[in-house]
Symmetry: C2
Subunit: 481 residues, 2 copies
Amino acid sequence: MTSVDLEGLARRLPAGRVHEDPAWQAVFESDGLTAFRQHPRGVVIPQSQQEVIDIVRWCHEVGMPFVARGSGTSLSGGSLPVADGIVISLNRMRRILQMDPDNRTAVVEPGVVNLEVSRQAAAHGLYFAPDPSSQKICTIGGNIAFNSGGAHCLKYGMTSNHVLGMKVVTASGELVTLGGPSVESVGPDYTGLFVGSEGLFGIALEITLRLLPKPECFHTVLVGYRSLRAAGEAVSAVIDSGLLPGAMEIMEALAIQAAEAAVDCGYPEGAAAVLIVELEGPAERIESERRQLEAVIEQTDAFASVVAADEVQRAAIWAGRKSAFSAVGKLSPDFLVQDGVVPRKRLGEALERIEAFGKESGLRVANVFHAGDGNLHPLILFDDSKPGELERAEALAGRILRLCIEMGGSITGEHGVGMEKRAYLPEMYDEPTMGLMHRLRAAFDPKQISNPGKMFPGAEAPALQSHGLHPLEKAGVIFRE
Amino acid sequence: MTSVDLEGLARRLPAGRVHEDPAWQAVFESDGLTAFRQHPRGVVIPQSQQEVIDIVRWCHEVGMPFVARGSGTSLSGGSLPVADGIVISLNRMRRILQMDPDNRTAVVEPGVVNLEVSRQAAAHGLYFAPDPSSQKICTIGGNIAFNSGGAHCLKYGMTSNHVLGMKVVTASGELVTLGGPSVESVGPDYTGLFVGSEGLFGIALEITLRLLPKPECFHTVLVGYRSLRAAGEAVSAVIDSGLLPGAMEIMEALAIQAAEAAVDCGYPEGAAAVLIVELEGPAERIESERRQLEAVIEQTDAFASVVAADEVQRAAIWAGRKSAFSAVGKLSPDFLVQDGVVPRKRLGEALERIEAFGKESGLRVANVFHAGDGNLHPLILFDDSKPGELERAEALAGRILRLCIEMGGSITGEHGVGMEKRAYLPEMYDEPTMGLMHRLRAAFDPKQISNPGKMFPGAEAPALQSHGLHPLEKAGVIFRE
C-alpha cells in the first residue's frame, strides 16, 4: 500500500476531479461479467487531455498505480481497480475531434462510445467496423486496450486493423505519437503494439480510426441444425466455397433457449444449434453470393432455414445472438464467460471435448461462438451459493483454456487476458518470450504502475469474490460478448 | 572497429561456413538501387536454425555487429554490411516446413523466395498475397524486415497483414515465439512489432504465413490520360465509387517511355500518364464490378482504354509497370528511387510540387506510384560523372520526403528507412517518440549489434559511393520497386 495521499494530485487539477469517498469507490469496484470486486483508493475524472497527462505524470512521480477506464465492460477483469491505486475514468474524454470522409478517417478521444463513431460517420456513408456486442456502451479506449473483435471481425479483422495512429501518454508520462494517418507507416507497427496492451503501456489520448464505406445491403440467414457437429461442418463448407461472409456465428441449444426466453427471437424450434451467416456488400454482388450460399447450405444437414426479409427480421436474428451472454445469466444464478480460440478446422473436436469436460465437472456449458474464426465463448453455469461450485467452474474454465493451448490456439480471442487468464499466459509462452514481453512493457512503464496485476501473473490482484451481474447488465442496458 | 577475430565463430560452426576473403566481401558490398558500397568484415552462411542461433549468440557475447541478409534487394540500403561486422546470409535457410491448406497457412524459413511460397501453395488453390516487384528473387525474411508491399497491397495490405506468427532469435540470443497460428493473438501485436523492424531486433527463423485463395479471375484495364492530374482524379473516382480493386497504379510519361523501350509493353501512344486498374475475385462478382468500373472510367478524361483479353495481355500490361524502375535506369546513367506516402486525396497537389522541385533542381523525375494508397515512387535521374549531381539528387530526394511529412504522410511506404532515410526519421517523430523507439529496440538488442546504422540516425554508416546497378539488376534478373 502506497502511503502517498491524493491531496498532491487534487492540487494539480481543477476542483472536483478527485473522489475518495466510499460511494465513488463502489461505483468502480467491478467491471464486466467477471467474479472480481475491488474498491480503488480513489477515482479521478479528467476533462481534458492535459489533465490526463498531468495525472499520469503525477502517478509516475510518486509511484501511484492507476487503471484507465472507459465503460468498464471488460470481460476478463481488465478494467478492475487495484486496492492501492486510482481509477482514471475517461468518460468525459468523448469528443470526436475530426471526421475526414475524404480520407475515411476519424480522430477521436478514448471515451467516445464505439457506436457513436458509426453514428457520426453515417452522414458520410461510412462506419467503424469493429462491433463488440457491447458497442452501444463500450468505448474506443477500451476497444484499443483489449483489441476488441465482434461478430464481423471474421471479414474485417479486430480493432488493430482499424486504428491508424495514436497520440499516447506513456505510463512514464511521455507524450508520444504512434503510427500516422495512413496504413503504410514507418518501421515496426508501434500502433499494433499498443492495441491489445490491456492498459499496461499508458493511455491513448487521440486515436485515428479507419472508417469503411457502409455495406450497400445485407443478406442474413438463420439455419437450424439437429447437431452441433452439423452446424460446424456447415461453417467449413461455407469457407471452403470461397465465400467470405461478414459474420458466421453458432449458438447451441442452451444458449438458444436462453435467448428465446429473453428476447423472443424466433429461432427454429428443436434446434441443437443455429448458424447465423451474414453476407454484406453491393447489391449486385450480394445477389450472386446469396445464390452461392444457398447452394452450399442446401448440401448441409439443415432442417430449417430463414432469410431475413427486412431490417426488422435481421435485427431479430441478431438480437438473439447479441443477448446470449446476459440471457444465459437468467438460466443460472451465476456463470463464467470464457473466450478461447482453436484452429477453425478443429472446432468440432474442441466442442466435443468441452462437452465431456462439462459432464465430468457436473456443470452445464452453453456454447456461443464466432465459428468462422474458431473463437469459442463457452458459458459455464454454476451456483455460487453451493459450496465449491465457483471453484469447480474456475477449474472447468482452466481445462478449456488448456485445451485451446494444446490444440494450437489461444487463451483469448477478443476479451483479453486481464485478471482472469493471467495464470495461463506462461503456459502459452515460454520463459524467454515472457521475459521479452516484460522488457517491452518496461519501455513504456518502468515502474509498473499502469494497470498492474493484469495480463502478467504474479503481481498483486483484486480479491475474487462472489459473482453477480454488473449493475448495467441487470438493468438491461448492456449486452456483451 | 572491434578487435575480435572470426576464428572463435568458425570454431563453433561446421567447416566452410565463415568467409573472410575479399572476393566474398565484394559479393555482399551492396544491396538494391542505393548509392552505398561497403565491404563487410566477413560473411557467414548458416545451414540450419541452430547454426543461426549459435552465430547470433556468439555475436552478442563478443559484441560483433551483424546484418542478416536474404537476396539483398533492399531499396533503402537496409541490407548493407557494416565495416566491422559480419553478414549472416540466409539463402540456405529456404525450406518450406509446412503447408496447411485446411488452415490456409504455410510455415517457412526466412530464405524462402516470396514467389516460391505462392508456387508451392498453388497446388491447393492458395497464394501469398504480398507482391513486391522483386518477388521472383526477394525473400520472406527481407519482406518481414521491411514490411514489403507491392501493387496489390491496396486491397490486401502489407506483409504484416499476412504474417501470423514467428519463431525469432533476438539480437540478444534468446529464442522467442511471437504471435501464433491464428489472427486472434494474445495481447499486443508482437508479430507486427517485429515486421518492419528492418533487422534491428533479430532474425526470424520460422514464419507462419497466411495464405489466401487464388482469385478466380482478373480484369485488368490500362487507361491513357493526357495529364497526370486527370489520371489522379480517375483514381479518386474509382475509390469513391466503392470499388476496391486489387491494384491501382499510375506511371507518367518518362516512365512509360522507359518501360516501352525496355519491354515493349504497348501502352497507349502519347499518354502523359497511364492508369492500371485490376479487379480480382469470383467470375460473377468481377462481371458486375467490371461494368461498374467501365461506367466510372467513362466519366473521366481518358483518351484510350485497353482491357486485357487474356493472361498474355495482362502479363504485358504488368511487365511495363514491374520493369519501370530498372527501365528508367536506361534513360539515365544513374538514378535514385524514392518512396514516400501522401494522403491519397492530396496526390495531385504532391505531384505538382514534385514537378516544380525537379525543375528547380534541373533534374528529371519520373513518377511511378501505387495511386490507390498514395504511395509515390519518384525516380530521380542524374549523372554521377557530373560533379555535384549526386548531391543535387540527394537534396531533391530530401525535399520530396519533407513534402510527404508536411502533407501528413510518411517517408516510406514499403522500402523502409534503411540507410537512405534515417536522417528524416526525427523530422517525422519527436524526441519522446524516438526515445521510446530506442527503448523498444533495446528490449531486443541491448548491445545494438543487429543491423546497426539503419533506421536510426547517428550510428556508424557505410560510405556513400557512386551509384551503379546491382549486378542482378544489370543482368535483368530482377525488377524492383
